[in-house]
C-alpha cells in the first residue's frame, strides 16, 4: 500500500529531512513511526500525503507513483489518504458535524449520504451527542476524536496520524489507540508517528524507528 524506495527529502533551507529511506507497508498493515523530534517522522508522513515532494527516490501509495502525480491530481490523492494531526486542524467557526462532513462536501457527496456517514463516524468516536456544538467547547481528547472522524468519514484506505496523542493524558491516549486498532481490524492501513514508546510497545504492532532521516530499526510486526 505504501512503499518508499531510497527516498530523500532535502528542504530549500538545506536541511535534510530524510536521507535514503526504504520502507514497505502492506495493505491492511498498521505500523508506528518513532524517533526523536527531527528524525524525519513528520517529513515521511508529509511525503505520503503529498504535502511535500521527495527530492530523490520514489514514493508509491495505493498503486500510484507519487513522483509522477500532477499537481491537479493531488486533491484526489488526498481523498484516499486520511490525515490526523497533533493540533487537530479543525475549523472553529463550524460545528462538529460540518467539520466531519468537510471531506464529503469537498468530494461532492449528496446530503443524505453525507448525513448518514457523518453520523456513523460520530458514533464510532463516541461523539454522537456533540454534532451541533463548536469544537472550541470540546476537550482536547474530544477534539482529537473529531479530527479522527473527519479523517475516516470518506473511508480512505490509508490513514496517517502525526503525534495524535501528543497533547493527551495517558488514559485518553489509550482510548485513541484503541480506536486505531479497531480501524485496522476493518482493513485500513495505518501509519502513526509517535514518541510515546510506552504506549505502543505492548500493542504488538510493527515499530519503525527513524534516526537522522534513516530507518534505524524496523521491528517487523507480529501480524
Amino acid at each position: 500500500m505504501i512503499r518508499f524506495d531510497n527516498v530523500a527529502k532535502r528542504y530549500a533551507t538545506g536541511h535534510e529531512g530524510l536521507s535514503g529511506v526504504d520502507l514497505h507497508l502492506a495493505a491492511g498493515e498498521m505500523a508506528f513511526l518513532t524517533g526523536h523530534s527531527g528524525a524525519g517522522k513528520s517529513t515521511l508522513l508529509k511525503l505520503i500525503g503529498l504535502l511535500e515532494r521527495a527530492t530523490r527516490g520514489q514514493v508509491w501509495v495505493n498503486g500510484r507513483n507519487l513522483n509522477k502525480l500532477r499537481s491537479r491530481d493531488i486533491p484526489y490523492h488526498r481523498r484516499e489518504v486520511g490525515m490526523i494531526f497533533q493540533d487537530h486542524r479543525l475549523l472553529h467557526d463550524r460545528t462538529v458535524f460540518d467539520n466531519i462532513a468537510l471531506p464529503l462536501v469537498v468530494a461532492g457527496m449528496g446530503h443524505a449520504e453525507t448525513r448518514r456517514r457523518v453520523r456513523a463516524g460520530l458514533d464510532k468516536v463516541g461523539l454522537l451527542k456533540k454534532e451541533k456544538v463548536f469544537p472550541i467547547t470540546l476537550s482536547g481528547g474530544e477534539q482529537q476524536r473529531v479530527g479522527i472522524a473527519r479523517a475516516l468519514v470518506s473511508k480512505p484506505p490509508v490513514l496517517l496520524a502525526d503525534e495524535p496523542t501528543g497533547n493527551l493524558d495517558p488514559e485518553l491516549s489509550r482510548e485513541i489507540m484503541e480506536l486505531f486498532l479497531q480501524f485496522n481490524q476493518v482493513g485500513v492501513t495505518l501509519l502513526i508517528a509517535t514518541h510515546d514508546v510506552g504506549l505502543i510497545n505492548h500493542l504488538g504492532k510493527r515499530i519503525v524507528n527513524l534516526r537522522d532521516g534513516r530507518v534505524a530499526d524496523d521491528s517487523g510486526g507480529l501480524d
Binding site: I2, G63, L69, D73, R89, L91, L102
Partner: protein
C-alpha cells in the same frame, strides 16, 4: 504491492446536475457569508456602487443632451430675408412659391410692418426706430423644412438652394450652435468612456483587495480544505461568487443612485424646459444601460476576485 505501469485513474465527479447544484449552493453560501458582516459588505458595495454610478449617470446625461440637440436640429427653421425693394404682395407670392417645394413644410411671412412691430416690442430700441423716416427692416419668410429633411447638412443644403431665388437676400440657418453643442457632447462622451474605464479599474482593485483580505482571514480554512482533498476549483469558487455578489450589489446601489439623481434633477429640468417652451423631459435609464450596469457590475466583481484568487490561493499550501 501494485507497481503497475499505468496508475489507476482517480474518480472524478462529472455529473452536470451535481455541478450545477454545487454552484447554486456555493453562491448562496457566499451570499450568506457576506450577510453575516452587513456593515463591511455594505460599505464595500457602496464604494463599488458610487464607482459604477458616476460613469452611468454621466452617460445618461450626455445621452439626454445629445437627444435634446438632435431634436433641435430636426426642427431647425430657415429665415429668408427678402430684398428691401420687394413689396408685401410680392413677398407673399415668394412665400407661396416656396411653399410649393416638396422639401418645404410650413412657411410663414413676417411682412415689413410686422417685423418693425416685433422689433419695437422686443428690442427696446422702439424710440430710436421712430426717428428713422422709413422702415429699415426687410420682410422675412420663415421656412420649416419638410419632416424628412433632417440633420444640419440637409437643412443647410436647402438653405443654399433657397438663396438662389432672386427676391431672397439671405437665407440663414441658425444651426451652428447646435453643431457646437454636438461637438461638446461628443467630447464629453469620450471623457465619460475614459472615466468609465478608470472607474472599472477601481472596481477591479476594490473587489480584488477585499477578496485578498478575505483569503488571508480564511488562511487556515483554505489549508484544511486542501488537506482533505479540496480541489483548487472548489476553493476558488466561494471567493469568485463573493466577487460576483459584491459587483451585483454594487450595481444595484449604483442604479439606485442614478435613479435618485434623475429624480432630483427632474423638477428643475421641467422648469427649465417650461421656460424654453419645450416639452423636453429627462429620459429614464435606457434598457441597454440598465443591462450593462447589472451585467457589468458582477462581471467586474468576478474579474477582480479572479485576480486576487489567482495571485493568492496558490501561495497557501498546507504543511
Amino acid at each position: 504491492m501494485a507497481r503497475r505501469d499505468k496508475a489507476r485513474k482517480f474518480k472524478r465527479n462529472r455529473s452536470p446536475i451535481t455541478w450545477l447544484l454545487r454552484h447554486a449552493q456555493m453562491s448562496l453560501s457566499s451570499l450568506g457569508r457576506l450577510s453575516r458582516n452587513p456593515i463591511s459588505t455594505a460599505m464595500t458595495a457602496a464604494v463599488i456602487g458610487i464607482a459604477l454610478a458616476l460613469p452611468s449617470g454621466l452617460h445618461l446625461l450626455v445621452d439626454n443632451v445629445s437627444q435634446l440637440s438632435s431634436s433641435w436640429d430636426g426642427s431647425a427653421s430657415i429665415s429668408l430675408f427678402l430684398n428691401e425693394n420687394v413689396n408685401d404682395e410680392q413677398a407673399d407670392t415668394v412665400r407661396r412659391q416656396i411653399a410649393l417645394r416638396p422639401d418645404v413644410g410650413e412657411t410663414r411671412l413676417i411682412d415689413r410692418d410686422q417685423a418693425l412691430e416685433e422689433f419695437r416690442r422686443l428690442s427696446g430700441f422702439g424710440e430710436a426706430i421712430e426717428l428713422l423716416d422709413h422702415n429699415p427692416l426687410p420682410a422675412v419668410v420663415l421656412v420649416r423644412p419638410q419632416e424628412r429633411i433632417r440633420g444640419a447638412e440637409a437643412v443647410a443644403r436647402l438653405a443654399e438652394e433657397l438663396q438662389g431665388y432672386l427676391e431672397i437676400d439671405l437665407a440663414q440657418v441658425d444651426l451652428q450652435w447646435v453643431a457646437r453643442l454636438g461637438a461638446i457632447t461628443g467630447t464629453i462622451e469620450r471623457g465619460v468612456i475614459v472615466l468609465a474605464a478608470l472607474l472599472a479599474g477601481a472596481v477591479l482593485l476594490i473587489v480584488g483587495n477585499t477578496i485578498r483580505l478575505d483569503i488571508q482571514n480564511r488562511h487556515s480554512e483554505i489549508e484544511i480544505v486542501k488537506l482533505v482533498g479540496g480541489t483548487d476549483a472548489f476553493i476558488r469558487r466561494p471567493f469568485l461568487y463573493e466577487g460576483i455578489w459584491y459587483g451585483l450589489i454594487g450595481a444595484v446601489i449604483g442604479l439606485v443612485l442614478v435613479l435618485g439623481a434623475l429624480y432630483l434633477l427632474d423638477g428643475p429640468v421641467q422648469r427649465l424646459a417650461g421656460l424654453y417652451e419645450s416639452d423636453f423631459a429627462l429620459a429614464v435609464i435606457d434598457p441597454a444601460s440598465l443591462l450593462g450596469l447589472l451585467l457589468g457590475g458582477p462581471l467586474l466583481g468576478l474579474a477582480g476576485a479572479w485576480l486576487a484568487v489567482g495571485r493568492h490561493l496558490a501561495q497557501i499550501q498546507p504543511d
